[in-house]
Structures are given as structure tokens and as C-alpha cells.
């Protein structure tokens, strides 16, 4: 239903009240969920997105769509309910705002006027080419940002900048990498493997993207996480890779390889090379999942886990349903940024 800005609250109430009442309908008030989508989305695709999120994360939704074709900010309101049990439903309210560039300055005031008070506000940046001004002003309102760092124009560095504004960032690439992190964690949870950590000499990360060229955001995040866990930081870059120093393993060289593929960007392999030749770890993805091959003192061990294809929406659902720690993300992101900067300087970008 299209409504005037001043009538948003009244119409939302009407929408909720008009829902039949033979079963118990609860209006969700767990948080405010602001979604910034790209101009190419339409009401249908926005509603599809919200339909996917609301059953796993019922909230008050405020979706914002930049729109060069309208002259004023316009609003639509609706509600969607899903069944919790036989006679119980949870309803999420939805406000969709179409915003022309002249309305960008005024937009935060519209959002602020319609947040549920006293609960946190989350912001999902969904899609490419989102206007910087809106990203900035909406992140000032949010406590938590969900985004895909691959889709941010400045990649990991944009993510770091946004992290400075909010309590947490849930980077969907980080969620996607959780399978990799999990498998590495598993491998080194065995004492025999852990004893080799101080002997790590090099890490080789193979990534795929459409151009077969740097940078690779998932690669940088992975390298950032490994550096942080090994308490190292990048000190130099040369033709042989990043030189990282730290108290755990001394100097470790991290190298990247970029392969051309039909995938937008993803991790392909990860190899850990140890001093002395008594150990070797290789993680590799194929169409059946993520596999690792561990060689320790002449023995070979193999592990596997499924690997879900990481569309941002899938990752988001996974996050809401299962949850995922983002505790190590800030430190990993910071190191990823340091590497990105070294790399750009080196390549003269």
C-alpha cells in the first residue's frame, strides 16, 4: 500500500489490525532491520528478500531503494506473517522507501522517525553500487551492519571504515569463510598438528575470480585471520609474497595466486608449508565440498566438510539460524587492510 510519509505509522497499525485474529498474531519487535538495496531492485525483489529473512529474523523492516525516477521520497507499507505453530503467527512490518538523490539528505530523518524504540537497529547493505552517502548516513543509525565486503566499492578498507561506526559488522564473506576456518581449527586441535605451528614457514592461498587478477577479498580476509591467529603482522612485500613477522612462527611468507574462473570471487586452495618437511597441510575445494589433506611425520589424514555456495542471502540465513562468531573479524580485517595497502603500493595501483 502506497502511503504519505506522515501516515506511515497509522497505516502500519491499520495493516496489522486488519490481519485476521482467529489465531494469535504477535507483532515482532525484536529489532529494526534497515535494508539498503540497489537501484536495480524492484518492490517484488525487495519483498522476496524480506520474505527470506523475516521467518528467521522477524523485525520491523525498513527497505530503502535509491530511485532516480521519482521526485520525492515515497513509501509503501505492508506486513508479512509466518506461522510459528498451529495457532501462532509472527508478523513483521515492512516499510519500503523509494528515494531520489535529492531525498538523500532527508532520508535519515524518515528512518529515525519510524524505528521501534529501545531495540537495536541493524543495517543490511544488499547489492552493488549502493550510494556512499546512504551507506554513511544509515550506518550512523545502525548498531550492527550486515554486508558483503566483496560488494563494497573499497572492499576490506570500506568494511574497516564502517566498523569504526558500529558495534559489530557481520561480513557475509566472513561467514562464508567459516567452513575454512572451522577445518583449520579442527586440524590444529590435534596436539600432534599443533606442535608444528611454530614451524610454519609459508602459506599459499589460491583464489579464483573472473579476471584472474588481484585483489581477492576472501583471500585477504583469510590471510588476515591466519596472521592474527599466529600473532603476526605483514612487514614487507616482495616478488615472493608478504613477509609476516610474529612471535609464534618467526617470519612466515604468505603468497597469493589468482586464477581465472566463472566465479565472482572465492577461495580455491590453501596450503600451509612447514620447516623441516615433516608436515604439510592442504585445503582444497571442489564441487563436493571442502577437503583437507594433512601429512604429519609420514602419515596422511583426510578430512571433508560440505561447502555451501555463498550467495549473500544464504550466508545471512545461515547467520540468523545457526549464528557465527564475529569476534576475530575486526583483527583479521585490520590485517587484511594492511596487506591490501602493501600490495597496492607494490603493484603501483
Amino acid at each position: 500500500m502506497k502511503v504519505a510519509l506522515k501516515d506511515i505509522d497509522i497505516k502500519l497499525r491499520e495493516v496489522i489490525e486488519s490481519i485476521e485474529t482467529d489465531t494469535l498474531y504477535t507483532r515482532s519487535a525484536s529489532s529494526n532491520f534497515i535494508v539498503l538495496v540497489s537501484e536495480s531492485s524492484d518492490s517484488k525483489s525487495i519483498n522476496r528478500l524480506l520474505d527470506a529473512i523475516s521467518p528467521v529474523h522477524p523485525c520491523r523492516f525498513i527497505a530503502i531503494r535509491p530511485d532516480k525516477k521519482v521526485s520525492d521520497i515515497s513509501a509503501e507499507v505492508s506486513a508479512s506473517c509466518h506461522k510459528l505453530s498451529r495457532n501462532q503467527h509472527v508478523c513483521s512490518e515492512r516499510i519500503i522507501l523509494n528515494v531520489p538523490p535529492v531525498g538523500f539528505d532527508a532520508l535519515p530523518s524518515v528512518v529515525n522517525a519510524h524505528l521501534l524504540p529501545g531495540v537495536s537497529s541493524e543495517l543490511l547493505l544488499f547489492g552493488e553500487d549502493l550510494p556512499d552517502q546512504l551507506i554513511n548516513s544509515l550506518s550512523d543509525i545502525a548498531d550492527i551492519i550486515y554486508c558483503d565486503s566483496v560488494e563494497l566499492q573499497g572492499g576490506v578498507r570500506d568494511a574497516l571504515r564502517l566498523l569504526g561506526k558500529v558495534k559489530h559488522i557481520v561480513d557475509l564473506r566472513w561467514i562464508e569463510l567459516s567452513y575454512w576456518r572451522q577445518q583449520i581449527k579442527e586440524i590444529f586441535s590435534h596436539k600432534a598438528a599443533a606442535s608444528f605451528i611454530p614451524l610454519i614457514k609459508a602459506i599459499h592461498i589460491v583464489t579464483e575470480n573472473r579476471e584472474g587478477k588481484p585483489p581477492s577479498t576472501p583471500g585477504l580476509l583469510m590471510a588476515g585471520w591466519l596472521s592474527d591467529r599466529l600473532k603476526m603482522s605483514p612487514v614487507a612485500i616482495s616478488s615472493s609474497g608478504f613477509e609476516c613477522d610474529g612471535p609464534t612462527a618467526g617470519t612466515v611468507i604468505i603468497t597469493f595466486e589468482y586464477r581465472k574462473s566463472k566465479f565472482r570471487t572465492r577461495l580455491k586452495n590453501l596450503e600451509i608449508i612447514f620447516d623441516g618437511g615433516n608436515a604439510h597441510v592442504l585445503l582444497e575445494r571442489d564441487s563436493s565440498g571442502l577437503h583437507s589433506e594433512v601429512k604429519l611425520l609420514g602419515n596422511e589424514y583426510n578430512f571433508s566438510s560440505p561447502l555451501e555456495e555463498g550467495t549473500p542471502l544464504k550466508m545471512l540465513e545461515k547467520y540468523f539460524v545457526i549464528g557465527e562468531s564475529v569476534k576475530n573479524y575486526p583483527a583479521a580485517l585490520k590485517l587484511a587492510c594492511e596487506m591490501a595497502e602493501l600490495d597496492e603500493n607494490y603493484r603501483g595501483v
Binding site: 525484536s30 532527508a106 529501545g118 559489530h168 557465527e324 562468531s325
Partner: protein, 510 residues
């Protein structure tokens, strides 16, 4: 002697016969608030069986003119729709007497009219005078009423005569004392009803019920379990037609001294001896205000933040800055936002910071009282979750919707041990299924019954001004105390956030 017949009896619902005289009957308050409230009381059968409403102001109107304009106002502002039959029953009791209240002769004419109208009903009426005029008329009207023989000594006679006084009650401690003294030359304290319409709001009254009728909260209501308290008053409107008044007053005087300190005193009150005797509650409220630690000069600079809004947007609409509003002096230093940290320095509350903020042109209209309970030790959950352990928060929303919510931490379904905040909500509309009456309805009804519990006593007013005296003095004397700026539509200046971050707190997002 104590009234032996009142014990164990429920309190009357319908007040005795009353003639309500409204000074300022052609004004905004009368038309937007008082007449709609009276109409609703009538529809709910709460008005006395015999009642008279006599409007008095200088504008020359006939009884019928007054009824006609009242009908329009009730149609626009009443919470229930105007019903012609009810209106006819209500409005036949309305009269109007052109009166310049500063003229003795006019008041004595008014007196004659009231007496004639009452005699026509063959009943004895109590007289209730409502001062809905500018405050400079409060003292002269009370004096003229006395001179015209329209005020009875409460110790003698059977007719109750009372005076309802609107805000503002003074503009500082000295002027409030002076006004109290002047009113008391003509009326006894027990006859004076100083209105603070916040006390008429259901949620504000519910603070007492909530605290003292539930076993689970009162034991926690002290510095052992409460971490800090926030009282927030936000309006999205600017100054509108009150520009010149507001520009002389500022928001500290306009809402903090009265509404927010009244809320504070109820929130922090000790259990009164009784809820049915107006003075037991007011005695305890005044103790709270007396316990608020007075700030010294350095503390005013460090703990009170004032600011004024610049242009910005409210719900998508561009709005001008304060200095560009009509009727505001260029270069005005009136604060449209204030935030302060105070402490109630008594046995129960010592050490609990109480943060108060009030502002105009904030993103939305909301008044909320929030009690943050101390956090449990977090070690069991460290590293387990995305979020830090949140405070348990009890939020009492006073407007726009009246309700209470409690934030607790819970585990979302699923195999992982996570902790996330959830909200338990109670709203008046959905819990009781009846709409809340407007604050003025309750207060007018209480005044007709002679129940002063929800009205402010002289000493409360003076204590509340006393708390603000150091602030007002420092602001007046020291131009170096900054008047910060904030964008209309934002939640106030950054400096107000800094007031809390020093103690690891943050304003609740509203």
C-alpha cells in the same frame, strides 16, 4: 477531626456539584485540552450530575458563541468523536461571561453571574477556578476573586473553592516563591491545585502501582541492583506558536523543572504511608527532590549540556534552524536541548547516575523512563556470542504510546549457545482493551473531587527550582559555558553522548 466515615469506603467517582470557571476561555489550552477533556468526562458519566462551565476572558462572546466554538474544538481534538445528542446534554451547561480578569469590577460581575446560575439550579455548588491565562494574571486573578468574596475559608463554610494553576509556575526559585506567597494571601495551600499534566498520565501513575503492587521489582529498586536511570523527553516539533514564550524560557525551565522532575520524584520515592492521603505521597516526593545533590559551578560545566538546533529534516521534511524560526530573537541563547547527569543522594540511590535529556526537533516524539539494571558477570558467555551481555532494561513509555517493556537476555533456538536480547512488552491498548483517558480528564476530575494527590505542592515546586538554580545561575553568569549545536532531526549534540560515555553508558536508542 479526622473523617471517621471515610474509612473503608471507596472513593467517590462523581464529584459533588461544581461550577468550573475557566479564565482564558477563548485561548488555546481551553480549546485544545480542557473542553475536550470535559466533554469526555461527561460522556463517561464522570462529571457531577450538576455542573456548570463558565468561560471568562476579554473577548466578547455570547453563551451560544462560546458553545459553537467549543463544539468545533471538541470535534477536532476530542479522543472520541462528537455525538450530537451527548453534545446537547453537555453544552447546555456551558456559559460565557466577558471578563477582564485584571479588573476587580469585572470579576465581581462574573461572581454575580456565577451565583445567579447556581441559584437557578437550586443546589449548592463548589467553585473551581481554572487559570488558563498567561502567568502574569495568576496573582491578580486570585486577589480579585478574594476581594469579590468568591473564596471561602476552608476552615469554615460548606462550599469548597479551589484554584487550578497552569504551568509555568515561576521562572526561577525566587519568582516561584513570590507567586506561592501571593496566591497564599488569598487561597490556603489546600485550595491550590498546581497542575502538571504529566501526573495525569496513566503510565506516570502506574509507576507507583508498578513498584508497590509487584513483589519482584521493589527489592531491586535501589543502588545495589540499578546501574543507572535515563529519563528522555523528545519532541519532533519546534517552537511553533509558543516562540516568544519559549525563547524567554528554554527547555530546562519548560519541561525539566516540572514534568521530568515530577517523574524523577515518583520513580525514586520511598513507600508512602498511604496512597489515599495526598500529603503522604507528596511528602515523600519532596524528600526525593531535596536529596538531589546540588551541582557546584564546575559540575554544572561538566554535567549539564545545553544546545540549540540548526536546520535539518524531520520525517523527510526540511525544517529551519531555531534562529530562523518565526518569533525568535536573532542571536538567541535559549537552549532547545538539555542533557544532565544528576544523583539522588540518599540511602537508596546514592551512586546511581540519573541522566535526563529533553529536546526539541529530535527525530520523533517520545517520553520514556528507563531503568538499567546491573549486568551479571559475563564470564560464562565470554567468546560465545556476537553480543555483549546486555543490561536488563525496564522501559516505561509515557508518550506517544503508554506502556512498559522489559528487556531480558535469552537463547535463540538452535544448537549453539547464544545470547540475544528479547523484549517483553505491555501496552495499555492491547492489555486492557480500553483507551487511556487524556491526562487533563483525570486531573480535572480529581480537582473537582478535591483530591490534590496528583497536583504539585508549593514545597515541591520550590525544591525543583532549587535543583536548577545553580545551573541557571552559571549559565547566566558565564558565557563561556558553550551552547552546542545539533542538526534538527538528530538525537542532539555529540557532547551529550560524552556525558555518558565517561561512565561507560550510552543513551538508549529511541
Amino acid at each position: 477531626m479526622h473523617n471517621l466515615f471515610s474509612e473503608g469506603e471507596s472513593r467517590i467517582v462523581r464529584p459533588p456539584s461544581t461550577a468550573l470557571v475557566i479564565f482564558g476561555a477563548s485561548g488555546d489550552l481551553t480549546h485544545r485540552k480542557l473542553l475536550p477533556a470535559l466533554y469526555n468526562l461527561y460522556c463517561d458519566d464522570y462529571l457531577p450530575v450538576n455542573f456548570l462551565i463558565i468561560g471568562a476572558s476579554r473577548t466578547r462572546l455570547s453563551d451560544q458563541d462560546f458553545r459553537d466554538s467549543a463544539r468545533e474544538s471538541v470535534a477536532s481534538y476530542s479522543r472520541r468523536e462528537l455525538d450530537s445528542e451527548k453534545w446537547a446534554g453537555f453544552s447546555k451547561n456551558m456559559y460565557y461571561q466577558p471578563t477582564d480578569a485584571s479588573k476587580e469590577s469585572d470579576i465581581s460581575e462574573l461572581g454575580k453571574r456565577i451565583e445567579a446560575l447556581c441559584q437557578g439550579c437550586h443546589r449548592d455548588f463548589n467553585y473551581l477556578y481554572y487559570l488558563a491565562t498567561a502567568p502574569r494574571f495568576f496573582a491578580p486573578i486570585s486577589a480579585n476573586l478574594k476581594k469579590a468574596g468568591l473564596v471561602e475559608d476552608p476552615e469554615q463554610g460548606m462550599r469548597r473553592t479551589s484554584l487550578i494553576v497552569e504551568k509555568p509556575f515561576g521562572h526561577d526559585l525566587e519568582s516561584a516563591r513570590e507567586l506561592n506567597a501571593k496566591l497564599r494571601q488569598n487561597f490556603a495551600e489546600s485550595q491550590i491545585f498546581r497542575i502538571d499534566h504529566y501526573l495525569g498520565k496513566e503510565t506516570v501513575q502506574n509507576i507507583l502501582v508498578f513498584r508497590f503492587a509487584n513483589g519482584i521489582f521493589e527489592p531491586l529498586w535501589n543502588n545495589k541492583y540499578v546501574d543507572h536511570i535515563q529519563i528522555s523527553f523528545a519532541e519532533s516539533i519546534g517552537v511553533g506558536s509558543r516562540a516568544s514564550y519559549f525563547d524567554r524560557t528554554g527547555i530546562l525551565r519548560d519541561v525539566v523543572q516540572n514534568h521530568l522532575f515530577q517523574i524523577l520524584s515518583l520513580l525514586c520515592i520511598e513507600p508512602p504511608i498511604s496512597l489515599s492521603d495526598p500529603d503522604s505521597i507528596r511528602d515523600e516526593k519532596v524528600k526525593v527532590l531535596r536529596s538531589v545533590r546540588r551541582l557546584n559551578k564546575e559540575e554544572v560545566a561538566a554535567r549539564v549540556v545545553r544546545a540549540q538546533y540548526d536546520k535539518g529534516y524531520i520525517n523527510g521534511e526540511p525544517v529551519p534552524g531555531y534562529l530562523q524560526e518565526d518569533g525568535i530573537n536573532s542571536g538567541s541563547r535559549a537552549e532547545t536541548y538539555v542533557a544532565m547527569r544528576i544523583e539522588v543522594d540518599n540511602w537508596r540511590w546514592s551512586g546511581v547516575p540519573i541522566y535526563i535529556r529533553a529536546g526539541k526537533r529530535l527525530p520523533r516524539r517520545i517520553t520514556e523512563i528507563t531503568v538499567f539494571f546491573k549486568r551479571p558477570p559475563g564470564m560464562l558467555f565470554r567468546g560465545r556470542q556476537v553480543y555483549d551481555l546486555d543490561y536488563n532494561v525496564l522501559a516505561i513509555q509515557v508518550q506517544p504510546e503508554e506502556g512498559i517493556s522489559l528487556r531480558i537476555s535469552a537463547k535463540p533456538p538452535g544448537p549453539r549457545l547464544r545470547v540475544e536480547p528479547v523484549i517483553m512488552n505491555f501496552t495499555y491498548g492491547s492489555s486492557f482493551g480500553v483507551p487511556s483517558p487524556e491526562a487533563y480528564e483525570r486531573l480535572l476530575l480529581d480537582a473537582m473531587k478535591g483530591d490534590a494527590t496528583l497536583f504539585t505542592r508549593d514545597d515541591e515546586i520550590e525544591e525543583a527550582w532549587g535543583i536548577l538554580t545553580p545551573v541557571l545561575e552559571v549559565w547566566k553568569q558565564d558565557d563561556a559555558i558553550p551552547l552546542y549545536r545539533y542538526q534538527a532531526g538528530s538525537w542532539g549534540p555529540l557532547e551529550a553522548d560524552a556525558l555518558l560515555t565517561a561512565s561507560g553508558h550510552a543513551w538508549r536508542k529511541l
